[in-house]
């Protein structure tokens, strides 16, 4: 008899429900991410929800499976890229002749469009950094459990 390596693999209901739910959790995270200007939410909340979807996957299907879906190097990179994107927008506004993080200069013709673009990019950076950080922490904790 084959012994399953992870605790919850044999729970059929959990697996089926998780498979149904995870796409909607990720979709909801994207909605919160890109609809943050108009409704509640933004990069931070979206990052946490996005990471929570993967954490659920990891809890049900095991850490090794999760690491095949999202390799650790991707998680680690998204933490750094998120912060660099945020700071990079600031540097870009300086290079375009504005103050640091003054998004209005991002669009040469319409200051409001520049503000929207800046907010979108910065929120995306926050989302990447937060989702990555949450998964890094989860990987670190869950990885200790298995040894």
């Amino acid at each position: 008899m084959k012994i399953e390596p992870v605790g919850m693999r044999e729970k059929t209901i959990l697996r089926v429900v998780a498979r149904l739910f995870i796409p909607f959790i990720l979709l909801f995270a994207l909605y919160v991410q890109f609809h943050g200007d108009y409704g509640p939410g933004g990069g931070f909340q979206a990052g946490v929800i996005f990471a929570a979807g993967f954490v659920l996957y990891g809890l049900i299907f095991g850490l090794p499976t999760l690491q095949r879906v999202v390799p650790f190097i991707v998680v680690e990179a998204s933490v750094a890229i998120g912060l660099l994107l945020y700071a990079g927008v600031g540097v870009a506004t300086v290079l375009l002749g504005g103050a640091f993080l003054d998004y209005r200069v991002l669009d040469a013709h319409d200051a409001t469009q520049g503000l929207h673009l800046g907010i979108l990019l910065v929120e995306f950076g926050v989302g990447l950094a937060v989702a990555g950080a949450m998964l890094v922490i989860f990987y670190a904790f869950a990885g200790r459990r298995s040894d």
Partner: protein, 178 residues
């Protein structure tokens, strides 16, 4: 104060006392998740939906999972310790001082409190006039307080680096299993 708020506050206090009394750490971790959810409910009643969102996602969701992950590395029961009276006295004196301090605060949810009169009207007017977006919180976080949010993102990144340095020492992380 609305009856629903009184009810949530009563639950909040009951859950907090229960968490402090419990020896079963698994139950305490799950109750802390409920505590966060009650807080999120209170934030919603104060129209602070963004904060409620964060509290529900982080406090009730991710941190509960992290607490459970930590519990799987340690024991489920708290070791029983003899009651020490000096810390109890310190806690009560500090709590009493804080309670005295909040007597001078504006009433709960008072819209005319000083904190709502200083910069908030400018932010609310400016968001509609300059940004053309309805969510004032997004405008404040990313633009008016853009430096703060950059710093907060750096704090989160630092936390991730710190966790890696603490829990992943002496192992190869690159591409492989931790």
């Amino acid at each position: 104060m609305a009856p629903i708020e009184l009810l949530l506050f009563a639950f909040l206090i009951a859950v907090a006392l229960l968490v402090a009394r419990l020896r079963d750490l698994l139950a305490a971790a799950l109750l802390l998740g409920i505590f966060s959810l009650l807080c999120a409910g209170l934030f919603v009643l104060n129209d602070a939906v963004d904060v409620a969102f964060t509290e529900a996602a982080v406090g009730a969701g991710v941190s509960t999972i992290l607490l459970l992950g930590t519990l799987s590395l340690t024991r489920r029961e708290e070791k029983s310790q003899p009651t020490r009276w000096a810390p109890l006295v310190v806690v009560f004196v500090t709590g009493g001082a804080l309670a005295l301090g909040i007597l001078d605060m504006p009433a709960y949810g008072d819209p005319t409190a000083p904190i709502h009169q200083h910069l908030a009207p400018d932010y609310i007017a400016g968001t509609a006039a300059e940004f053309g977006i309805p969510n004032v919180v997004t405008a404040i976080l990313t633009s008016y307080r853009g430096f703060d949010t950059l710093g907060e993102t750096a704090v989160i990144v630092t936390a991730a680096i710190g966790i890696l340095a603490l829990l992943a020492s002496g192992r190869r992380w690159k591409g492989g299993a931790p």
